[in-house]
């Protein structure tokens, strides 16, 4: 199937679960900002969790489908519609040939994910389809979508026969397939974001540590896929600290000398040299990815044990969803994989 881009939206890029195995060369991991919505979108259409989706930011694109296909839209509610009729989110949607997907008013959240059964065709760059805008590689020609682009994505050939005949007998542009219910993400204001203590937590002044977990912070407009600059009570170290660059991760909260924290997001650098007060726990990163300026946050400190238990519980939940939706599609669940684990490559430069 060919997807035609009528209008690209504010910032629409192809992303998967990220580019791992190359961070020692300074290559950013990239990948989706909201891992939960992306993975659920893929599970709903019966894809591997690591298949790429289109990450749509605030204002969505208009896309034309030339063949029937099965899609899902998860994450931010940007009023998606097909041929003018609003479509439900977090469910499989059968789309007829020639229909037009577009987005309207933003109801909540910042980023929506469009998954298509069979995935998007894109050249793998360093084992990933993720777009890294800063260096212009991955995804579609290393850039965001533009009007006039067209690309190949999974189509009718990966739909089960029953779906195809349902579509043929349908006088509407789309059909929502009956399926297990999934609760959408809800963002509070202020949204509580759980963190574990960072490498230099103890080096921050007591007042700063206490402010960090009790005062409100706001996301500033200088926030993007690389990092969120947030503002609140300025944070300071107990005493000046000689810092040496070391690795950072998704959710690292680092504090530059001006005292305003930066939360490192998907397009983060591989290493950083600012003191790290905390790390946002993985299960709360999707909530953070749905907040934009001037959204309000409050941090809550939990232990690494609690963070890892939450992470494992989420994996179990995704695994259950994968089984439930495999039944919807008549797929063999053992052929689906929820993880993007690949053998780490031992390569040297030169």
């Amino acid at each position: 199937m060919t997807m035609h881009v009528v209008s690209p939206g504010a910032l629409t890029t192809l992303q998967d679960l990220g580019r791992y195995g190359f961070q020692r060369f300074g290559v950013s991991a990239s990948g989706v900002m909201d891992e939960w919505s992306h993975r659920v979108a893929n599970i709903i259409v019966g894809n591997d969790d690591n298949e790429a989706t289109l990450e749509v930011t605030l204002a969505g694109p208009t896309l034309l489908f030339d063949l029937p296909c099965l899609i899902s839209i998860c994450g931010a509610n940007l009023s998606p519609s097909i041929d003018g009729v609003l479509i439900p989110m977090w469910v499989p949607i059968l789309v007829t040939a020639g229909s037009r997907l577009q987005f309207g008013r933003r109801i909540d959240g910042a980023r929506a994910y469009i998954a298509v059964r069979g995935g998007y065709q894109a050249t793998m760059v360093m084992n990933s389809k993720s777009t890294y805008l800063r260096c212009g590689f991955g995804g579609f020609e290393g850039r965001m979508l533009r009007a006039g682009d067209s690309f190949t994505a999974g189509g009718g050939e990966c739909l089960k026969d029953g779906f195809l005949s349902d579509l043929e007998n349908c006088d509407q542009p789309f059909l929502a397939v009956p399926s297990p219910e999934i609760a959408p993400l809800t963002i509070a204001s202020p949204q509580v974001i759980r963190v574990v203590p960072g490498q230099q937590w103890e080096k921050f002044a007591e007042q700063s540590r206490s402010n960090f977990v009790s005062k409100e912070f706001r996301v500033t407009p200088q926030s993007d896929r690389m990092g969120y600059r947030i503002q609140g009570e300025a944070l300071s170290l107990e005493a000046p600290l000689e810092m040496i660059s070391e690795a950072v991760t998704f959710g690292t909260v680092q504090v530059p000398p001006d005292g305003n924290p930066i939360i490192l997001m998907a397009d983060r650098p591989t290493t950083g040299g600012y003191p790290k007060i905390a790390t946002v726990v993985r299960v709360d990163l999707p909530l953070l990815a749905q907040i934009f300026a001037p959204g309000a946050l409050m941090f809550a400190l939990i232990t690494i044990q609690e963070a890892q238990s939450l992470y494992l519980a989420r994996e179990d939940e995704l695994s259950r969803l994968r089984h439930d939706f495999a039944r919807v599609h008549g797929d063999d669940v053992s052929s689906l994989t929820g993880d993007n684990y690949r053998e780490l490559q031992l390569t040297h430069g030169g």
Partner: protein, 260 residues
């Protein structure tokens, strides 16, 4: 043209001069999906060699769930998937991070000493000064020497790459002659051109792509350090020794042409 020569140097870590009697590290969870092995809080050739050995040791036959091993100046980060470390008969009650910590500890204790890093010598042609190195004259005057002396000291410095970071393929190399010791510039530049060779903090860095930068710019290399479609994508890797040599602007242009 091939700028890469291999030379064999598999010296035993313990045979290094000034080596401490035993190696120490501590393993800390950075998050629920990342462990950090700290070998100290210094930028030091010996500590960095331990870092690189540990990274090699962990990348060879990777432990279950490990997706990335990232060596820096004095630490190694291990990014992993906790769900791949769920079951272990020996530690049935341990969390994945505790299990991976134990495995990393065991592997480093047993094997670190055997892992010495493959070292290569990579020749880097540099056109010093002029528009390519706008800070060269200022560096010379701040170091109380002539421009020629700066170039001589820089090309004779035994540079070794401590880590890559900041941008894809961007090396930080130690071993800079101490007479060229300068801090970063007080005001960073908004745009530093790809290939620019810069010094600060007793190190040499080469900007692998056009980006902002706060170091002292002394020249530019026509060599491409990063190509996303190459395997591996980075020309350089941690532990590479760099041999800088001076070229003219004409030579710069002709090497740049051969690239295209």
């Amino acid at each position: 043209m091939n700028y890469t020569d291999f030379y064999s140097s598999r010296s035993d870590l313990d045979a290094e001069k000034n080596a401490p009697n035993h190696m120490r590290w501590r393993i800390l969870p950075m998050s629920e999906t990342c462990l950090l092995i700290e070998f100290g809080q210094v930028i030091d050739p010996y500590v960095n060699k331990l870092v690189r050995s540990a990274a090699e040791c962990l990348m060879h036959d990777p432990l279950p769930g490990v997706v990335d091993v990232v060596p820096a100046f004095s630490s190694v980060a291990i990014h992993y998937k906790p769900e791949c470390l769920k079951h272990d008969l020996l530690m049935p009650l341990a969390m994945p991070f505790e299990r991976l910590t134990a495995e990393v500890e065991a592997r480093l204790s047993k094997n670190l000493i055997q892992w010495s890093c493959p070292e290569r010598l990579v020749k880097i042609p540099i056109c010093y000064g002029g528009e390519f190195g706008p800070d060269l004259e200022e560096v010379a005057s701040r170091c109380n020497m002539s421009v020629e002396e700066v170039v001589r000291l820089h090309t004779s410095s035994p540079a070794i790459i401590y880590m890559l970071g900041f941008a894809p393929g961007l090396p930080y190399a130690g071993g800079l002659d101490s007479r060229l010791s300068l801090p970063r510039r007080s005001t960073p530049r908004q745009l530093v051109a790809e290939g620019t060779v810069a010094i600060a903090n007793n190190q040499t860095a080469i900007y692998s792509m056009t980006s902002p930068g706060g170091w002292n710019l002394i020249g530019r290399t026509p060599i491409n350090l990063f190509d996303a479609r190459s395997e591996p994508p980075s020309l350089l890797c941690p532990g590479d020794r760099l041999s800088f040599y001076q070229i003219t602007e004409d030579e710069y242009d002709s090497i740049l042409e051969q690239r295209q």
